[in-house]
Symmetry: C2
Subunit: 289 residues, 2 copies
């Protein structure tokens, strides 16, 4: 994704929400589709329908279909969805199941509910909130042909700062990785990561082929949350040279992030600098209702 001024914009989006389900016997093909109502709500013309033999949860199937309808414009912004009870009856589902589907789209910011009014499609412009992102994946998704040069990949004793960030003892073994990230052959960012010792088997080869988060997930870690801080500062002479900026003093965008897995353990501490002339962070926020 390119900005008007040719800077790379990071719109972060990750493959989450993997459908999980369970097999269910093909039971009760409930289908007393009441077409006796004139119904001006747009979902009637939408050939919605769930597959009860699929392992994908019913609410999830419905949510996917509604989302697809919104994305392809079949459900236009501002249009009312029609009430939950009637929709449930038409699909042969119970109301709680339909509510669960709708709620998941409300959480994504695609729908808005108003008591006494109905459920409406939000007037677009809203996409999804920021996810835990990988620069590599972001660049790849944007068609920027990312490239990684691993400049250091060693085991060190944790400094006080790193130990505090990772929640390990000072002097404990941590893996240190320094990488230069390029897109279209040009330097974009200088990435420094610290990872608790023994957590991951990181060989330089795999690090150059993909992103760190992908390696972590592949190793069975469940990434859960991250605390991050974004700022700016002037480049040192060294940094300017590494990043091919004209000289010391060039503005850099900085990001420090600690990532935690689902047990609350810190799995990574990163301290990165980006060329401000080429990068910005872009994301959406949703206000919790």
């Amino acid at each position: 994704m390119l900005c008007p001024d040719n800077r790379t914009v990071l719109t972060t989006e990750l493959p989450v929400n993997i459908s999980r389900g369970y097999a269910r016997p093909v039971s009760k093909p409930v289908a007393k589709a009441a077409q006796d109502k004139p119904a001006k709500d747009p979902t009637v013309a939408l050939r919605l329908g769930v597959d009860r033999s699929s392992p994908v949860p019913l609410y999830f199937q419905l949510a996917q279909q509604l989302e697809a309808a919104i994305e392809r414009g079949a459900l236009t912004p501002g249009s009312l969805l029609g009430n939950e009870i009637e929709l449930a009856g038409r699909l042969g589902l119970s109301r709680p199941t339909v509510r669960q589907a709708i709620q998941s789209l409300v959480d994504k910011g695609l729908l808005v509910r108003r008591r006494g009014v109905g459920t409406q499609v939000v007037h677009s412009q809203v996409k999804r909130p920021l996810e835990l992102s990988s620069l590599f994946d972001d660049l790849e998704a944007a068609g920027q042909r990312p490239e990684t040069r691993v400049l250091r990949n060693t085991v060190e004793a944790a400094s006080a700062e790193v130990a505090a960030a990772l929640g390990v003892g000072e002097g404990d073994e941590v893996q240190l990785i320094e990488r230069l990230r390029l897109a279209h052959g040009e330097p974009m960012a200088y990435l420094t990561n610290h990872i608790p010792g023994g957590l991951l088997d990181l060989d330089t080869e795999r690090l150059e082929a993909t992103g760190l988060y992908r390696l972590m997930r592949a190793a069975g870690l469940t990434l859960h949350s991250a605390r991050q801080s974004v700022g700016a500062r002037a480049a040192t002479a060294d940094e300017a040279e590494r990043l091919a900026e004209p000289g010391a003093g060039a503005p850099l965008l900085t990001m420090r992030r600690t990532t935690f897995d689902d047990t609350g353990r810190a799995v990574e501490f990163g301290s990165h600098v980006y060329r401000a002339s080429r990068y910005s962070f872009e994301f959406q926020l949703l206000v919790r209702p």
Copy 2:
């Protein structure tokens, strides 16, 4: 909140999640509290209990109590909550209601569920995700005694850029506000905002007393989402002077944000610069499970 290096950090937190409820007749004081189980789960000693005469929803009451218990340390990180069915029985609630309470805390990142294992308290460090934030509120919460100087407050014709961001016609009337924000008497940021004409009655006096978002909410607008972009660049000579930075070229943190209300209408477009020597953005991310 102050950084080690004395820069102001923006931890954004807004008062959302206003409790809404409805009155319910004081019915069925179901209380067959089974204490026949030894139960090593920590919630038994937690004097949990809901007030059925309260207008606050039962699931919300339970969620609040659990959250409070986590915050004061009565539920320690990693501890198991005890299964949902038993908990429901003990509280005289149905399982779906208990699940709704637990789910809301999972969404906040305070709890983690594992099938076949149970529900655990996350190992702290995790706070809440970024909310739609007001610099004024953030500074005030951090005890920084914020001050605002309104430098411009006029009505103008929308430029092409502003018109595109706000979704109005080029040349339409928009309100333009330029403000200098100070903390402890020192310049922190220069804020430029555009607001669709006629949306809000903004007098300079009120703008100097509080933040823009607070005024918007007070005017009955329901803020729903925002799209924002954070970057960095070098200051112009003018900007450096306004912000009391030593001179042109000083690194600035930039933020552009368009805010939407719950009908999807753009209600504000802001283009702000912050002194990188004094500011950074700090926030948490949660990975959607």
